[in-house]
Amino acid sequence: MSTRFEAATFTGALGDGRSAASRSCEVRLAAHGLEVRPEPEARWRLWPYHQLHAGVPLHADAPDVLLSLKPAGAETLFVAHAGFVRELLARAPTLSAGRQRWQGLKPGLAVAASVLALSLGVWTLDLHPAQAVARAMPQKTRQALGRNVVEAVAREHKPCRAPAARAALDRLTRRLAAAASSTPLEVHVEVLDWPLVNAFAAPGGQIILTRGLIEQAASPDEVAGVLAHELGHALELHPESGIVRALGLGAASQLLLAGSSGTISNIGVVLAHLRYTRLAEREADAHALRILKGAGIASKGLGDFFERLEGKRPFRPAGKGSRPPALEVLRTHPSTPERIARVRAEPPYPATPALSAADWQALRDACGRAAPLPAPPRPAAGDADRDIAEASKALEANPDDLAALQRRARAYAGKRQHELAAADLTRALALAPGDAGLHVARGLAHQSLRRYEAALADFDAAVRLAPGHAAARNGRGNANRALKRYEAALTDFDELIRNHPGYAAGYYNRALVHLDQQRQEDAVRDFTAAIAADKDYAGAYTQRGLLREKAGEREQAVADFRAALAAPAKYESGAWAHRTARARLAALGIAAP
């Protein structure tokens, strides 16, 4: 090989661009371009270096090169020689991969720089473009948007519209909304039958509370705190801005990250969104504290709820065998110690409970689930004694301490000292005569003491105070049945089931009325309905099993007794149901598990 490269001649394949045939040619690297001579011609033709286009951006280690002439020359020249490529690169450096890529990078860098400048501008001038667009939206549009959001969620999770709960919720919403803004605020709150612990603000002042959240709250003040927080979001138009922002960012990222793998673009959008969310949460918290103070509701509830989310307070078990409540709320509502501290730092102010006991119970029964009436289901004996001691001490200091009276009555009832419980509840009712929950509790005490007339009077009063109160209606039905007023009892249970179709005990108790009146078939139907409402209803299985055994349906009866034993003893009839089912199985000669 020659050391004078100018003189080196290489062999190539030349395509003339008119047919797909190619012919061999000679190529040499001259001062201003390639000199190409197709065989067998004698004339050398010049391909100027600045007009060359390479099939791929060139690297010095490329083994071959395909060349053509810009802009769209159909003639091609293929030279398979590494030395030729190196020499060519030295003379026509624009063909190199580095130079080619730089050309492609320029538009992208220009766009990136302008986006950066724009964002900096928005940032330094403190502009909120999404919020500005949201404010410009007419209220009608916002409400239509929000209704669609709520409807979409409500398709998956049934709204709970028990009249008493509705009324209680409306009272609380009005109280908060009046404190939220001096101008009338259009707010609508909907409770959905959803075990998730969460609350959402949708556009147009539409707020969703979940059954899970209400069940997990230990007091109405906690629900009020969460509601005030969501009202804060609504006041700041956060949901509307969120939708505008998501649309804008989505469009921008689609535009910018076109076609590239979705992963990058999505991560970007989510990160941007999260930052806004945290800011928005802080604003909503500030509003919540202001609203609660204005409404005269203690902000402690909001702090308690945050602590529950932080894991400092336990969540209630959501029932045997079911999973722990989904803590979805954590994802969008970052609950940080700093937020708790801000709430706790609020100086105390005069406050009253967010809801009356009756309203609170009605709200807890909104979805027709029998939430156990006294908040902790069955306190251990030691706890009850301690509660009695502490409450008695508080009552010595202040005989009119309503909360202490309620606490001691609950503890007495837990220890089956119903006489004492009734006495305390009578004192409590003198202090709060309009509280349906107190009437229900005293009615239950009378019922346990077999003083059915007195029980009926209490349940009657509770139903008059809160017509949608499930436990009140149920209690009156039971009292009427005990007094053999079967028609009245049936009316009560019919009404209860109509308003709370998920309240399993309603069917069970109506079935007992049917049994008293010898209507076995109706009874079987209602026990079956009770099981449909709660598949763990041991008493309903045993009752139905007894009826089936009597009817000669042995196998079905055995299946019912077995199911009764497999179900937990959740209701008062539970222990009886287990005992009876075991006895019947033994009598039928079947080994009980």
Partner: protein
């Protein structure tokens, strides 16, 4: 004057053309990572240029008689095509969706609207497939001669849509027929230079394997359900519960059910690959160009390995290494593809669509692989 040696084999005889893959010395890994980096740096805009360089490199690795294919598309063209689609399709559809969300309440009207929305989307995807293929072929050259796709994208899109709608109606039995029909529509309109490809494929030979796929899908689904039911039954006899508590299954039962489902899926993937390789090989054998027939020898095991490994490459790299997977897929075909007799290259003239192809109008710019 010294003549340097060339690696070119200069045998202009009438042998069948050699189709081969010459792996680029730098491979595709570095390029993939560099493209990913530059894409992030430019907020994604470089995507189109990166994609173009990947195509240039893949195309140039494909050699016919030792000479490379050439990709002549540019990043600017892809960007322009995307912007047009963005303005004419994506934005109007997003606005239409938003308007529906605000104005239309849930109900039959909304359902009808959503059906129409999806219909348009499916129609557009058929349109997009044809446009993308036309763009890529028009930017593909060998020895300076352009390939191309004639025919109307709209007609292809209709065929694509109505045959797709028949898939659920026929319980999937239309699939082989549809595959052949779409392949025929695409191939018979494909040309290299001024010569068309011909495609003589029929659905009949595919059905000879397809019924096995269909039946195995049904049997495997039924078998999986039955086996899972058996496991659940065992669980209930153990626990004594009347109905198995699906939220509290024992670990053994859950592992058993997952294992059965996975084994069934694996078996189905193998059976499907057995069918797919048959489709590929059959389609190649029925494709002719200039009197020569193609032959492809895709095997089941190698195809399953390619598909599975490419899937993992894409997923595990979050899409950053897609170019590696694309190159591997192209190499898989090229390594196994041949022509059975010589083609007289001098008979093949330049593609007459030349002028149209170089016009940078909407038609050519409509290429977006994204949909």
């Amino acid at each position: 004057m010294v003549t340097a040696d060339s690696a070119l084999a200069a045998t202009p005889g009438m042998d069948a053309p050699r189709i081969s893959w010459v792996h680029p010395p730098r491979g595709f890994l570095g390029l993939s990572l560099l493209n990913g980096l530059l894409r992030i740096l430019t907020l994604g805009i470089y995507h189109f240029w990166g994609k173009t360089e990947v195509r240039q490199r893949i195309w140039s690795a494909v050699r016919i008689d030792g000479e490379p294919l050439e990709y002549r598309g540019t990043g600017g063209e892809l960007l322009r095509g995307f912007l047009i689609v963005f303005a004419l399709v994506l934005v109007p559809m997003a606005l239409a969706g938003l308007a529906a969300a605000i104005l239309l309440p849930a109900g039959p009207g909304r359902g009808l609207y959503e059906m129409g929305f999806w219909g348009v989307l499916l129609l557009l995807s058929g349109f997009g497939i044809h446009r993308a293929r036309r763009y890529r072929l028009s930017r593909t050259r060998w020895r300076g001669i352009r390939a191309g796709l004639s025919g109307r994208s709209g007609r292809f899109a209709w065929t694509y849509l109505w045959t797709l709608l028949l898939v659920p109606v026929t319980l999937g039995w239309i699939v082989p027929w549809r595959t052949v029909r779409l392949q025929k529509a695409l191939l018979e309109e494909t040309r290299f230079g001024d010569k068309p490809f011909t495609f003589g494929g029929r659905a009949g030979p595919l059905y000879r394997r397809f019924w096995v796929v269909w039946l195995s899908a049904v049997l495997l689904a039924a078998g999986t359900l039955a086996a899972s039911g058996l496991l659940l039954g065992l669980e209930t006899t153990r626990t004594g519960a009347r109905i198995p508590d699906l939220r509290n299954l024992s670990r053994a039962t859950m592992a058993g059910m997952a294992g059965i489902a996975f084994a069934a899926l694996l078996l189905f993937v193998m059976i499907r690959a057995w069918y797919t390789t048959r489709v590929l090989n059959y389609f190649a054998a029925e494709t002719r160009f200039g009197g020569a027939a193609f032959a492809l020898s895709a095997g089941v095991a190698s195809f399953v390995w390619l598909t599975a490994s490419n899937y993992l490459i894409r997923v595990l790299s979050l899409g950053f290494l897609s170019p590696v997977a694309e190159a591997r897929a192209m190499r898989y075909i090229v390594d196994r593809l041949s022509l059975d007799r010589a083609v007289d290259w001098s008979e093949i003239g330049q593609n007459p669509d030349a002028l149209l192809a170089s016009g940078e109008g909407l038609a050519e710019a409509f290429n977006v692989d994204a949909f």
